[in-house]
Structure formats: structure tokens, C-alpha cells
């Protein structure tokens, strides 16, 4: 990991914290946890973008990391996972390609506009799929624990 990439991860930490504040998340612990998740997700995105050529796959893995951390932290701080995931995915949001889509549409360059629109949709789909997989994983893990398939032995009464 180069210094440039470490700088990017730090910036994504700051960006997540800023957006969380803009979404009116005041609690310091929640803010810290959300920012850590956002930075970790962006770090995963950077790592996987050296492996995959496309935009969507690294975004999927980044969102997966954000989602898993969000579900895990939300259990520990007893708050909804939303308050971590919503700011956490901000560094992954395809802002530039969405802007390029609009720019090309305004300039009546419809080939480029469609190209960028499809790109945006794929990246957005990657984010959605990552978060969906994370929440499915945590739900099925909880169910397996309740049925004593794995993990804790004591059974919780619902």
C-alpha cells in the first residue's frame, strides 16, 4: 500500500464522518464506528480494484465490508445498522460517473451518456448487492445460532 492509498483511506474516513454529521448523527461513538466502517470499505475497494479490471466488482466487495462491519458494530452498540451503512457507502457512491451521465446528456452526446449511465447502474447494483449479501449473511448466522447449529450453546427465549 502506497502513501497515496493510505491518504485516500484517511480521506474516506473524513468524508464518511462529514456525511454522517450531515445526516445528523451526533453520538460520538456512532460517528467513530461509522467512519471506521466507511474507511474500511474504501480500503477494500482500493485493494480489490488492483485485482479486478471493472468498477462494479471492487465496489461490491467494498460495500460487503461496509455491510458486514455495520451489522457487527450495530449488534455491539445496540443501534440500527442503517446509521453505519448509510454514511459508510458514501465513498463508494459513483458520483463522477453519475455527473458524467448528466453532462453528456446535456451536451446531447447520447452514446457516451448511455455508456456512463450503464456504468453508474452497475456500480450502484454492486453497492446494493454487497449490502444485501451482508444483511442476508448476518440474518442466517443469527438463525443458525438460534437453532444451535453453530456457536453458542445456550438457547435464548424469544
Amino acid at each position: 500500500m502506497s502513501f497515496y492509498q493510505i491518504g485516500l483511506v484517511l480521506l474516506s474516513f473524513v468524508a464518511t464522518a462529514g456525511f454522517a454529521l450531515n445526516f445528523k448523527l451526533w453520538n460520538k461513538k456512532h460517528l467513530l464506528v461509522a467512519s471506521i466502517s466507511g474507511a474500511a470499505g474504501y480500503a477494500a475497494y482500493l485493494f480489490f480494484s488492483t485485482i479486478f479490471d471493472t468498477q462494479a466488482m471492487p465496489t461490491l466487495f467494498g460495500a460487503l465490508v461496509v455491510g458486514l462491519l455495520g451489522e457487527w458494530f450495530s449488534r455491539r452498540i445496540k443501534a440500527p445498522a442503517l446509521i453505519i451503512i448509510l454514511p459508510g457507502i458514501i465513498p463508494l457512491v459513483p458520483g463522477r460517473s453519475l455527473y458524467a451521465t448528466m453532462l453528456h446528456f446535456v451536451q446531447e452526446d447520447f452514446w457516451m451518456a448511455t455508456d456512463q449511465a450503464v456504468q453508474t447502474l452497475f456500480v450502484a447494483g454492486g453497492i446494493a448487492l454487497g449490502i444485501l449479501l451482508a444483511s442476508l449473511f448476518s440474518v442466517s448466522l443469527r438463525r443458525m445460532r438460534r437453532l444451535n447449529v453453530i456457536g453458542r450453546k445456550e438457547r435464548k427465549q424469544p
Partner: protein, 260 residues
């Protein structure tokens, strides 16, 4: 006599659950989670059977059978303003209601208190927006000067939106005003020679308007089989993107028309 008490209980339960769902949706909770929370709260009450909750981004229905009567109530959900601390507090509240630590009367007054509460620090979200926009612009690879200008444009945008909120405009007009103001601010700074890369400065500042969350939510709802919510969120994302495109596009056309 007992049936009258039951009916009052049912009315109160309906009132509390629909209001809880409405507030959760208005402050930005996901649709399926709002449904789940309301369902849990309604099921935890005594003598209640056949609890059904139907929520979309625009409305919420709660229906259950209590005693020997059916009860249903619907609430409209107006445009959402994201407020994560209120979502957290509503979540805590619902947890206390489900575990029986709170009577329905207490819950109703607590919900009203959360709804009526004024913002304690109105400048903090603006500061957060400034920091977030600047950090995002830097991630995109802009220079320091561009970053500062993107932050200034973002602050102008948030201020304009704050003024727009007072007139209760819809989200479309709100986004339109925001995108026009931020790209006009970026254009002015570009003309003054403060900005090198005009596009990056705009992307950074209107990042706060982007419907990234609506797009993600819509895909997520659709993929988990909640198609009405998916379509609603998708349309909202499309309309928001359209508003941004119109706002930024107008300014870009003006920029091409006016010689430097």
C-alpha cells in the same frame, strides 16, 4: 365494559404504531426495517392477533385483530429528511416498548417529543456537509484550490436549501435549487480564476444531493422482493437525478453562452 377498554387500547396501539412507522420512514429508515419494527411493537401488545404491516416509502398501513374487532389505520409519509440520531432514538424506544418497560401512553408522549424536537445545533450538518464535500473532492483527485471552492459551493447550496425548506417545497424543487446554486457558485469561482477543474468542483459540491442512497435502497428493495418500494425509490432517484441534471445543465449552457 371490557370491550370498551379493549377498543380504547386498540385505538392507542394503532395510534402509536402508525406514528412510529411514519416517523421511522420520514427520518430515513429502510422500509423493511420500519415494517419489522412496527410489527414487533404491535405483536408485543396483549390480546392482539393477525398483525399485518404494509409500508412503502409513501405510506404505512397497520392492521390487527383485537378482542373480536379488526382495526386498521393508514398514515401518509411526507418527504423524508434524513436524521440518524432520531432513527436511533426511535429504535431504542421501540425496543423498550417491545420488552414492556413502557406503557403505550408513555410511548405516545415520547414519540410526540421526538417529532416536535427542534434542532439543537443547526450549523453542525452544514459543517459536516462542508467537510464531506471537501474530502470527497480530494478523493476524486482535485487540487487544494478546487477542493476549497467545492466546499464553499456546498455551503452555498446547503444555505439555499435551508431557505427553501422554510417554504415547504417538494424534494424536486429543493434539489433543483441546490444544484443551480452550487454550480452557479462553482461557475463564479471558475470565472474568478480560483478553480482549475470546473467539473470536479461541481461533482464534489453536488455529491450531497446525489440520490446514491435512493438508488442503493431501490436495488436492495427490489432484490429482496419488495417491488413497490423498489420502484418508488427508483423513481425518486431518477427524479432527483433529473433535477440535478436540469440545474447543472442550465448553468453549463449559460456558461457556454456567455463569453469569458
Amino acid at each position: 365494559m371490557t370491550s370498551v377498554i379493549l377498543r380504547e387500547d386498540a385505538q392507542l396501539l394503532l395510534q402509536v404504531t402508525t406514528m412510529l412507522g411514519k416517523l421511522l420512514l420520514e427520518y430515513g429508515a429502510e422500509v423493511y426495517r420500519a415494517e419489522d419494527t412496527v410489527q414487533r411493537v404491535a405483536k408485543s401488545a396483549k390480546n392482539v392477533r393477525e398483525v399485518d404491516v404494509l409500508a412503502t416509502p409513501g405510506w404505512i398501513f397497520v392492521s390487527f385483530h383485537m378482542g373480536n374487532e379488526s382495526h386498521t389505520k393508514m398514515r401518509r409519509v411526507r418527504t423524508a429528511t434524513i436524521d440518524l440520531s432520531k432513527v436511533t432514538r426511535l429504535n431504542d424506544l421501540s425496543r423498550r416498548m417491545t420488552s414492556g418497560q413502557m406503557t403505550m401512553e408513555e410511548a405516545e408522549s415520547a414519540l410526540l417529543a421526538i417529532q416536535r424536537e427542534k434542532e439543537s445545533a443547526p450549523l453542525l450538518p452544514v459543517a459536516g456537509g462542508l467537510i464531506g464535500a471537501m474530502a470527497f473532492t480530494l478523493i476524486l483527485g482535485a487540487s487544494v484550490g478546487d477542493t476549497i471552492c467545492a466546499g464553499l459551493a456546498a455551503v452555498c447550496m446547503l444555505a439555499a436549501q435551508r431557505i427553501g425548506e422554510r417554504f415547504h417545497v417538494t424534494f424536486f424543487v429543493d434539489t433543483l435549487i441546490g444544484s443551480v446554486v452550487s454550480s452557479a457558485a462553482a461557475l463564479v469561482m471558475y470565472r474568478l480564476g480560483l478553480v482549475e477543474n470546473f467539473n470536479l468542483a461541481i461533482v464534489g459540491s453536488i455529491m450531497l444531493l446525489f440520490p446514491g442512497i435512493s438508488i442503493t435502497n431501490s436495488m436492495r428493495d427490489a432484490l429482496s422482493g419488495d417491488f413497490i418500494s423498489g420502484l418508488t425509490h427508483g423513481m425518486q432517484a431518477l427524479a432527483t437525478a433529473l433535477a440535478i441534471a436540469i440545474g447543472v445543465g442550465t448553468i453549463l449552457l449559460i456558461m457556454q453562452g456567455v463569453p469569458a
